[in-house]
Symmetry: C2
Subunit: 258 residues, 2 copies
């Protein structure tokens, strides 16, 4: 009997998110699927892990032969718990995260719990893909996203990814017929500019809400994720986790001797 | 009158950490210093931001002319609050984070709130340095770390860093005389292997603690942060935030046309 691929699915929007159901729908025919997600939204948690609280895992449903678990931890904790506790170090063939409600293009990748889960898997050399739809609505239409998720899962299963590389897939908020195709892109240089909104509570205390917008620092470039998304393409960015600025090493080398 | 550099200091160990006092000590003579930190430990929070809770900032002391603030947010929130709310978009000349109690070498950079603050500053092109001492103890001796922090702050002030590059500085737990010097290094390829410890609560419920160790995947390499630290050097890794695996782009390019 041929090996049935083992697929771990997680997200950062929590177990009730429609994007999770969409990803399970996209992945279910590719192998044996197991789902473990946070028990509520964990957006913007970046690569957070739970060190100061005990982690709990709860089985909450079985549907079409797929087991669903939820935890009080983050999306990164889900990968660790899935691998070590639920699957007890069985070999995982693919880790999928998402489908996120909202874009993870440009520098958002670094704030994203969706991508953090994919990157966590990638640390140990597991193939991993994070999917995001450019629609923050809890009622977003994932039908186009499911089509592309299937296509990309199929490619990764057949071609494999280089070790320690995962994918950041962002899908425009468009009907299937409006999408022009896939672009392999690089992360757009940019940052979130926050206008911290000041409010006053009933007791006179001031507080702030983070609210901002993405500043694209390379609007002219045509090989970036932002360009692809704004021009009707699904953006696929290959991602690694080497944060070294290699070309700066030479520049600083004299510090060793001065 | 010459411009007095404006220095923002934060950390992820919270306002009471001795490493914070050490960093203030190292930085105080280089310019006008302002301190904003979390109101308690935020280790392992990665690049988390606070989106679902209102952020509060409180002034809690003035010491030697330096204003100290604390917030319910993360280290990344501190950079945003410092820049937008406390300093009202005044030009910041340097962001310093730490001194962390514990190493942020290798892949720990991605879990680290200390480095997340430095990277956040770097997004907008502010020069930034994260400092970490290889001693988790709350009573760690920061005297050696202060000497190197001063030296590195001085160099960065004089030579500047390339735009969108920050530094990850890790300092061994050694006496000053035992340190061999500075090495400019790259991030060691590695991952944290977790043995999730299983416990049982008084009600029979199972829970887990994250507990693990760093697996160094390139023990033979001599240009890495891990090698430098194990051989008695202060490790200085230049860091950027482009997560693109550029060499994989070519490999996947055919997906655009198939």
């Amino acid at each position: 009997m041929p090996h049935k691929p083992l697929i771990l699915i997680t997200n950062d929007d929590g177990y009730e998110a429609r994007g999770l159901a969409a990803l399970v729908e996209a992945a279910k025919d590719f192998g044996e699927v197991i789902v473990i997600t946070p028990d509520g939204p964990r957006s913007g948690m970046g690569h957070a892990i739970t060190m100061n609280l005990p982690l709990r895992v709860k089985h909450y449903k079985t549907k079409n032969g797929i087991e669903f678990y939820r935890t009080n931890g983050t999306s990164v904790d889900c990968v660790k718990l899935g691998q070590r506790v639920l699957l007890q170090d069985r070999k995982i063939d693919l880790v999928l995260s998402g489908i996120n409600h909202g874009s993870n293009s440009s520098v958002s990748i670094i704030y994203s719990g969706t991508m953090a889960a994919a990157i966590e898997a990638c640390f140990e050399g597991l193939p991993a893909i994070g999917f995001s739809l450019l629609d923050y609505s809890s009622k977003a239409d994932f039908s186009t996203a499911i089509v592309f998720a299937k296509q990309i899962i199929d490619r990764v299963m057949k071609e494999r990814l280089p070790k320690h590389v995962c994918l950041n897939v962002n899908i425009p908020k468009l009907q299937l017929a409006e999408i022009k195709g896939i672009k392999i892109t690089r992360q757009t240089l940019g940052y979130w500019h926050e206008d911290l909104e000041e409010h006053t509570d009933p007791f006179g205390g001031k507080y702030y809400w983070l609210a901002g917008f993405l500043v694209n620092l390379e609007k002219e470039a045509i090989d970036t994720c932002e360009w692809a998304l704004q021009n009707g393409y699904v953006s696929v960015t290959p991602v690694h986790f080497d944060m070294t600025s290699h070309h700066t090493i030479v520049q600083l080398k004299h510090w060793e001797h001065d």
